[in-house]
Amino acid sequence: MKPPVFDYFSPASVEEALTLLGEHGEGAKLLAGGQSLMPALNFRLAAPAVLIDLNPIGALAGVHVASDGRLVAGAMTRHRWFETSALIQQRLPLVQHAMASVAHVAIRNRGTIGGSLCHADPAAEWPALCLACDAEMVLQSGTGLRYVKAGDFSRGLFTTALGGAEILVQVIFPAWPETRRWGFQELARRRGDFALVGVACLLDVDTGGTCTDVRIVVFGATDTPVLLREAASELTGRAPTDHHVCSAARCARGGIDCRSDHHASAEYRSELVQALTSRAIAQALARGNDVRDG
């Protein structure tokens, strides 16, 4: 359980980190919270020649609200910060709530939003939350900034749109409308384990009870989180009844070809997709309109 030899750099700025990344190329790995990379090193599943530690770069941590109401999160902001922040509770209550499902407190104290997004574990919460919230990734390279929507950032199992010479520096969350409600359901073998399946659901509901915009994201079931447009369409434009919720959940199950591993077969995951989608929608519908009071 000791890592192989590597060189370690602790740049003070993103620019310096990019320079190092340019110098060392393929053999370099960026170190964020280290909650996946350090075990991989110790298991000798990864053997990068160079580690570039982003922790000293203060500018990468912290969250602020832009003038247009968008929430801009530094990539090195810790899970625990999102979990305990009044700002997040008010502006992105789905995210605040979901953080409790991210591993255990000790891990949340170190793990970062950016690290999780770039690692792209299929069972991780952050890629799904960003997809549900339609967040945008800000990628910086020597040539400037590039903006990639969450839906385009996930490319596959442990694979993202991040280029070899880029660093994910920020995640931008659009402001929530007043009418938005949320639901979040996740099933793991034990508390804190990787999700077998999880579902995040956002519903914009007008004063008449009609869903104007619906986003349902399933994660853990396939290699990347999936936005279920067809299931959402079962609810959009309707004041959903139990019948519509059931149809949406059935539709979610039908729309996903689940992966299989020794914790859960594809068939079992399919059952979970249906059950958890139904519960996430019901949870969203059951919430009071003014979710911002928590």
């Binding site: 192989p4 075990p39 298991f43 073998r189 068939e267 249906q274 059950a275 519960r279």
Partner: protein, 775 residues
């Protein structure tokens, strides 16, 4: 003897806990020596293959690496590791060499030992040992093995390493009389001990004195010392095995593994102090697995549920080699298949089967957990078929007190005939029913309440403990407040320091805090054995009682000599002997200590005592576990609403320790039944290489476990009246949970015949019942 305060029976907090809770314990990895170098065992990544060559040149070129050993380098000492216990005929042909010679037979089999100045360099070196291995197909399942197409040990000619029949009465005739019979095939999955502290050793060879010291011993240090000395060609007395704090054994830790030879051997060959500690992945593939077994079991009964006979076939997956615990697991499964019931006619074919997986050995309740699951599940199936209540069926068949002692016959080939020594089995069972309010739960069984199916299941067990080789104790009194007690019993964290001091304090009438307990090292007592099979307290504790008695007898004798009084006129109390009539003190511990300080040899002798306790007959504890579970109808997840375990453990020395042992055993049983599984793929790769995939129960998973310890029948086979308590709490958990799942899902007609009951497997059970029937 008339102790001022009774210690035995009091719920004393464990004196060990403070250092553990403060992080001040000294486990193997905490133990340092000057000039320590580090060993890494390079292991096979392949489940089955022929070794062409092993190239160590690149490893030796790593800076810091100074030696690499393969089988060829150590062949002179590295003979096959023999079976210590459970000598079932046939297994001797399947022993393991410390380093593989020409064939690898499981993922994790040691191929080489790399020595370096630090752990980093040693791991770098191990990565560069290149083993050229011709891969062969792997035997992964019991069914694969029985086909004998591929042989795990080519020269043996078969994968069926051992086969015998255990029987009492005439099962076939009993079945001919039966109104009802049912036969089912059950499967128990591979899981094991998995202590939180991985194995490790530190070894030092002192060239000047010719002594070998090995730290990190546990379980059976005296046996392991003898074997190690033999293999190395040393005198037994030139080898010390020393026990440090131990973070759990549960049966698997402390057996003699390949590393138990390799690490001391390379220390001797290089003259360096060597440290080796497993990482978790290594631990999960190198330490004994257990529990994997199939059982075809048939029950024959009268229409009223009276069991007439039981017959079956057991197939135990032994993995790639017979380890030190030999055939204990299948043999004990066969011994305890009839359980605590009055079943006169029984037969069981026992088969030990080799596969290309990590070798199997004993784990808490070896063979019992499996057998109880098989039998208790079948009893519930019978009850359902006959329209009888599962509790009533059990009550009608449990051995009655007036049948005690109950002869179970000679069911184990390497043991004599045995008998259950005593107890009131129906009383303890009824007590469990009352504790769980079985009658009150009738309304929820099989019902869907708030989205969850509720079920209740029970399992009864009986288990042996104690016996085996004698255990030894030594007492040295330096002052009334400074008493050293040495025991040959080893501790893997059970609390010996607390319980043994309680026993001795009562014997010698001096306060328990004055007694320091030194355990598990070959340096403390001249002879000893170790801790397993619920014998730490039964055997070790009894030896402690004996040494206290011996000490008191010495002082009484001395007082008689000094006073000229008869023993009848003397009494011992609180560290002093006095004249019963005048109350004058004749001799005291304090006075003898003073005489000893002045150099009096007689006083020194009087302040020391040695004793041992021998008993070759087992005592039997017994009890019941009852579970109430709720299964989410949509997600198939299972919640343990309550698990109640009730056990007759004879006289209780420390109720707090007993309670902790039983709760711990029950939770470990729930982990094994619901979470833990070593999963292998078709190539013999083990897929659970970390705690992200091998799921141990955590503190939040099973909050509702209740343990009740009764004292219905103190053992007559040891002076403490004690029975083992380490294993009972785990033994019926698989059966109870499986029965509860079947009860909850009775409206689906699910057939529960396999463990674990993970949500994935429960969902499959439900799905299968919904599957369209073949036309």
């Amino acid at each position: 003897m008339n102790p001022v305060t009774q210690e035995v029976g009091r719920a004393r907090e464990r004196r060990e806990d403070e250092r553990f809770l403060r992080g001040a314990g000294c486990f193997v990895d905490d133990f340092k020596l000057p000039g320590l170098c580090h060993a890494v065992v390079m292991r096979s990544a392949m489940a089955h293959g022929r070794i062409v060559s092993i190239d160590t040149a690149a490893a030796l070129a790593v800076p810091g690496v100074f030696a690499v050993f393969t089988h060829a380098d150590i062949a002179e000492w590295a003979s096959a590791i023999p079976v210590r216990a459970g000598a079932v005929a046939g297994l001797d042909g399947y022993l393991q060499l410390p380093l593989a010679r020409d064939t690898v037979r499981y993922v994790g089999e040691p191929l080489a030992v790399v020595l370096a100045e630090d752990q980093y360099a040693a791991e770098d070196g191990a990565d560069l040992v290149y083993a050229d291995i011709d891969q062969m197909d792997a035997v992964v399942t019991i069914a694969d093995a029985l086909r004998n197409d591929i042989l795990v040990h080519a020269d043996s000619g078969t994968n069926l390493a051992a086969h015998y029949v255990a029987r009492r009465g005439d099962a076939d005739s009993a079945f001919a009389q039966a109104d009802y019979t049912r036969k089912e095939t059950f499967h128990c999955h591979r899981h094991s001990s998995v202590p939180l502290e991985t194995r490790g050793l530190v070894a030092r060879w002192d060239t000047a004195t010719g002594r070998l010291q090995v730290w990190g011993a546990t379980k059976v240090p005296f046996y392991n010392r003898r074997l190690l000395a033999q293999m190395l060609g040393l005198d037994e007395n030139a080898v010390d095995l020393i026990e440090l704090d131990v973070g759990g054994s549960f049966g698997a830790r402390g057996e003699f593994y390949p590393e138990d030879l390799l690490i001391p051997l390379v220390a001797r060959l290089t003259g360096r102090a060597v440290k080796w500690i497993e990482d978790r992945r290594e631990n999960l593939i190198a330490m004994n697995h257990s529990r994997e077994m199939e059982c075809e079991l048939e029950i024959g009964a009268r229409r009223d549920g009276t069991i007439l006979g039981l017959r079956g076939k057991l197939f135990a997956d032994m993995g790639a080699y017979a380890r030190t615990t030999g055939g204990i697991v299948p043999a004990k499964a066969a011994m305890f298949l009839p359980g605590p019931y009055d079943i006169a006619h029984y037969s069981c074919e026992v088969n030990a089967v080799m596969t290309n997986k990590t070798p199997s050995g004993t784990f808490r309740g070896p063979g019992r957990y499996e057998a109880n699951f098989f039998r208790e599940r079948l009893i519930d199936m019978m009850a359902a078929d006959l329209g009888l209540d599962p509790a009533a069926v059990r009550l009608a068949n449990l051995i009655r007190p007036e049948q005690m002692p109950y002869q179970i016959g000679k069911l184990v080939p390497y043991e004599e005939s045995a008998e259950y020594d005593g107890g009131d089995y129906p009383f303890v069972f009824r007590h469990a029913l009352e504790k769980v309010d079985y009658a009150g739960l009738a309304g929820v069984r099989g019902k869907l309440i708030d989205g969850k199916w509720h079920g209740v299941g029970m399992a009864c067990f009986v288990d042996s403990s104690g016996a085996g080789p004698a255990e030894y104790a030594r007492l040295m009194v330096n002052a009334p407040t400074d008493i050293h007690l040495f025991t040959g019993a080893s501790s893997a964290g059970q609390g010996h320091e607390t319980a043994f001091a309680q026993i001795l304090a009562d014997e010698i009438g001096l306060p328990a805090p004055a007694i320091q307990v030194f355990h598990g090292s070959t340096t403390g007592v001249a002879r000893g054995f170790g801790t397993y099979h619920g014998r730490g307290l039964v055997m070790g504790g009894s030896a402690v009682k004996r040494v206290g008695e011996a000490f008191v007898a010495q002082l009484l004798g001395e007082a008689a000599r000094r006073s000229g009084l008869a023993l009848a006129d003397l009494a011992y109390r609180g560290g002093a002997v006095f004249n019963r009539h005048t109350r004058d003190t004749i001799v005291s511990v304090e006075q003898l200590c003073e005489e000893k300080r002045r150099g009096d040899a007689a006083a020194r002798r009087l302040l020391q005592a040695d004793a041992h306790f021998a008993q070759t007959v087992c005592t039997f504890e017994y009890g019941t576990q009852i579970a109430h579970v709720a299964i989410d109808a949509q997600t198939s997840t299972l919640e343990v609403i309550r698990l109640v375990t009730v056990e007759d453990c004879g006289n209780v020395i420390n109720p707090l320790i007993v309670h902790g042992q039983v709760i711990g055993a029950a939770v470990q049983g729930l982990g094994g039944t619901l979470l833990e599984e070593f999963v292998y793929d078709d190539f013999g790769q083990m897929l659970c290489g970390s705690f992200a995939d091998y799921l141990l129960p955590t503190s939040t998973d099973f909050p509702n476990v209740e343990a009740y310890s009764l004292n219905m029948a103190p053992s007559l086979l040891n002076p403490l009246g004690a029975k083992g308590v380490g294993e009972g709490g785990i033994e019926g958990v698989g059966g109870a949970i499986a029965n509860a799942v079947a009860d909850a899902l009775q409206s689906f007609g699910v057939k529960v015949v396999s463990l674990p009951l993970s949500p994935n497997n429960i969902s499959r059970l439900i799905r299968e019942t919904r599957a369209p029937q073949a036309p």
